[in-house]
């Protein structure tokens, strides 16, 4: 299956077609928890992408050496090693961010996006394809977190990336930075993206029906 697909597709599909948050619905726990502000979302997505890219690449390289029976255990050890590296680097170099993300950095180990991509893609494809796939999924995750964080930060605390964007007269909606706001935003975004896709599909179907009717009419005319 991977033979016909272009390298660009492997990267691109993660952003929209199989977006980890809105299409695969994986990694929702950090998505809901850390998107109080855009900066937290970006940091979380970058940490996840780092782990995702390196573990996918590594797992893909050693995929033929690992016996099938212990593959999950091996993947988890590899992922946990990269997560610990990311956690230590963040604590050493960006203590503020590490504090804001709290327990969610160590929890990347059990983030389904990473194990999901390792199991579904990296264990069956070449390192280059796995690398691009991981990068695409990371970008998709980043996009989702930035959009969610942006909406919640703008409405919930009037700022974007810490800069005030809403006028002072706008009363911030506290609910948007509380957990309930995360569920509301997530649900609405997923609803909108599904509604858009449904509409697109329906239009395509109707066009096909129209085309079919047209050709049917032409046939009838020809017969007559």
């Amino acid at each position: 299956m991977s033979k016909q697909k272009s390298m660009w597709y492997e990267f691109y599909k993660g952003i929209w077609e199989i977006n980890p948050t809105f299409k695969q619905i994986l990694g929702t726990c950090p998505t809901l928890a850390v998107t109080v502000s855009v900066m937290n979302g970006i940091a979380m997505a970058l940490a996840t992408t780092f782990v995702l890219v390196f573990s996918s690449l590594f797992i893909s390289m050693v995929r033929k050496l690992i016996p099938n029976q212990v593959r999950i255990a091996a993947y988890i050890v590899i992922i946990a090693a990269f997560v610990t590296v990311a956690d230590l680097v963040m604590k050493a170099k960006f203590p503020e961010l590490s504090k804001a993300l709290g327990p969610f950095v160590p929890l990347i180990v059990v983030n389904c996006i990473i194990l999901g991509r390792a199991e579904a893609f990296a264990s069956k494809n070449s390192p280059l394809r796995s690398f691009l796939d991981a990068l695409g999924n990371g970008a998709g995750f980043l996009l989702a977190l930035v959009v969610m964080g942006g909406i919640r930060e703008i409405i919930g605390s009037r700022t974007f990336l810490g800069y005030q964007v809403m006028p002072n007269g706008f009363e911030p909606w506290l609910i948007m930075i509380l957990p309930a706001g995360a569920f509301l935003t997530f649900g609405l975004l997923m609803g909108f993206s599904n509604a858009y896709l449904e509409r697109k599909k329906r239009i395509e179907q109707q066009q096909k029906i129209l085309q079919y009717r047209k050709s049917e009419n032409e046939l009838k005319e020809a017969e007559a």
Partner: protein, 187 residues
């Protein structure tokens, strides 16, 4: 049998490599992390005791309390780090005290998980400024819905009464411990 050996060997090799990499990274990171934590505590100590120039941890104390000295090496006050329960979780704060423990110089909230927008107002200046120069004898008290009349009273935040009361409770239990140390002559 062959597959069993293969399984054990693979997992062992992966584990050893991962462990080796982690120990290297940890060697690099741990001094930096320690320095960050130390810098943070140091910053908070001087934040609540602005006249301080140097500090020293009090030995024999079962909680974190620091002696703060001014530029002439005279004792100017104490900074104590203390924690207690807030509305949703732990609140950890640094309390600055004059050397006789009878007046607060300033307070600083180090860690909290209060409700955003309501409980988190305890970290903002209008609330914290109430503690500047607050008398602590016999203890700190709070009033609700009216302006404080006594020199040892503060007003709670509307909508965040529990968070405000928690701060007062943490200060009082910290003070009690500090006074006990003072009585025993360990300060």
């Amino acid at each position: 049998m062959k597959i069993v050996i293969h399984m054990i060997a693979t997992l062992t090799i992966i584990g050893v490599i991962a462990g080796g990499i982690l120990s290297e990274v940890n060697d690099w990171a741990s001094p930096l992390i320690e320095a960050n934590q130390k810098a943070e505590t140091e910053k908070a100590i001087f934040l609540v005791n602005p006249e301080g120039k140097s500090y020293e941890a009090v030995a024999n104390a079962d909680f974190e309390i620091y002696k703060v000295f001014d530029e002439n090496k005279n004792l100017s006050g104490y900074s104590l780090a203390y924690e207690g329960n807030g509305f949703q979780g732990k609140i950890r704060m640094m309390i600055g005290l004059k050397s006789d423990l009878n007046e607060i110089t300033s307070i600083e909230i180090l860690e909290q998980v209060e409700t955003p927008g309501l409980g988190t107002k305890v970290t903002e200046n209008p609330f914290k400024d109430q503690f500047k120069g607050l008398q602590t004898t016999p203890q700190v008290n709070w009033v609700k819905g009216k302006s404080p009349e006594q020199p040892n009273e503060i007003q709670t935040i509307t909508g965040a009464t529990i968070s405000s009361k928690s701060i007062v409770a943490i200060i009082n239990s910290g003070l009690e411990k500090a006074r006990k140390l003072q009585k025993e002559g360990k300060l």
